[in-house]
Symmetry: C2
Amino acid sequence: MTEPIEARAETFFRELQQTICGALETEDGTALFRADEWQRPGGGGGISRVLTDGALFEKAGVNFSSVHGQLKPDFAGALPGDGLDFFASGISLVLHPKSPMVPTVHANFRVLRRGEARWFGGGADLTPYYPEREDAVHFHRAWKTVCDRHDPTCYPRFKKWCDEYFYLPHRQETRGIGGIFFDTLQRDAERDFAFVRDAGATFLEAYLPIVRRRRELIYGDRERSFQLLRRGRYVEFNLLYDRGTTFGLKTDGRTESILMSLPPLVRWEYDARFPPGSREAQLADWLKPQEWL
Amino acid sequence: MTEPIEARAETFFRELQQTICGALETEDGTALFRADEWQRPGGGGGISRVLTDGALFEKAGVNFSSVHGQLKPDFAGALPGDGLDFFASGISLVLHPKSPMVPTVHANFRVLRRGEARWFGGGADLTPYYPEREDAVHFHRAWKTVCDRHDPTCYPRFKKWCDEYFYLPHRQETRGIGGIFFDTLQRDAERDFAFVRDAGATFLEAYLPIVRRRRELIYGDRERSFQLLRRGRYVEFNLLYDRGTTFGLKTDGRTESILMSLPPLVRWEYDARFPPGSREAQLADWLKPQEWL
């Protein structure tokens, strides 16, 4: 007898967390993840894994959760399905490298059920401080390759969805150079799950080659200072617009796990400007939707 | 002929900005405010004044604005009055001292009009890192005194409103030790304006004596680190819950002026905990609504 898809997805996400954390520890070389297991009063729980002050990562957070219970009525309306019964399981990660030359990355894969409706969602996006075209191409190619294996129409759609989702209207810029984003996938559940498994397994190969190319680059106070400033945009996006953060806080999620995505050190400067032509000023050109492949 | 109340309020707020900035420069002793005058494309404009890297203030932002135009329909519903025509003028300030021994403070006074409806709002609240009872008492007494001069029923109401407004549900704590908060004052306009004038003029005497008592205290890395962590709560409140921020961003306000309230340097740490009985752990007891007088 085959297990229900929710149970298999939960197992997959839990194992993916271990695989990814193991690989990131190896890559970091000095620091280890601590793991916190937690229970959600309304039902379910999760494991939050955080690595801090590593040689490579200043803060790396990888969450696994599997929660269920009753949705708040005013929030349920925004979701597919009927009733207030819900189940949600997934993995969510944000990696903040110490070096400003290494991009920040976010990825998330999840399954949700409300009443009889079940859907998958997820994606990954890259936020460089000093962007390099070959990194953007590598990242997007990795996601296009996995998309194409399942449905050649999905990369263009999911890439566009990512550009639209990770957008800060008050700054008129995207959060980074994008990637893929998809939500409410409700086609054939086995087919959707196969895609999500494949996408989850792609994360390390999409990101680590970029890390290896950039981690040894020399930088100074100027680059560090710019990184801290740009991290402020990350905070603005997550607290003002991110639906994952909203969903977590509105379903009485575990605050420390939800806000694990926030960078370790952040700077805000009034009306910061950079000399025309500087790499800092040029970042603005990267933060507009464009075709990388 | 008497000028319309909006014009007189605008003049008052503009002059209050100058008075407060002048006093803060004197108090700081080393740094000066820079002033940016800006126009709002939809109508009106303002003057943003920012002082950074002073001896006393790491970042002090004092905004004056007077804007008008058309409200966005989906936002107008939340306001008194009819139609989409609006006018808003006010002063808003957030002072982030360099020393963790000196509390952060926020104050805001404003007049709004939508169609035929006109109302005043405002308040002030204090956010200490290492709180002292005599500071909390001083701050609340200053606001109670000005309230009592106008209407003895208003301090208890405005104090409670402040505790309720500056509350972070996901942290189950208030932003600081409160103060007063009031909105949609629609009694006699001249009487409301007289109260707002008096309250605005009270700001310096409510705050500066606390600064003078605390600014010379010795502190080290431990206190500085705690201050940066607590500043994260300030960011969380402003971006997740603050209606002023929301109003500004939704009325196409000037982003740099709206986000001037954010602290200059901020730290997030996963699940930070402090030894029981330490002053850091004790702060939690202060962040619950209580009577200070």
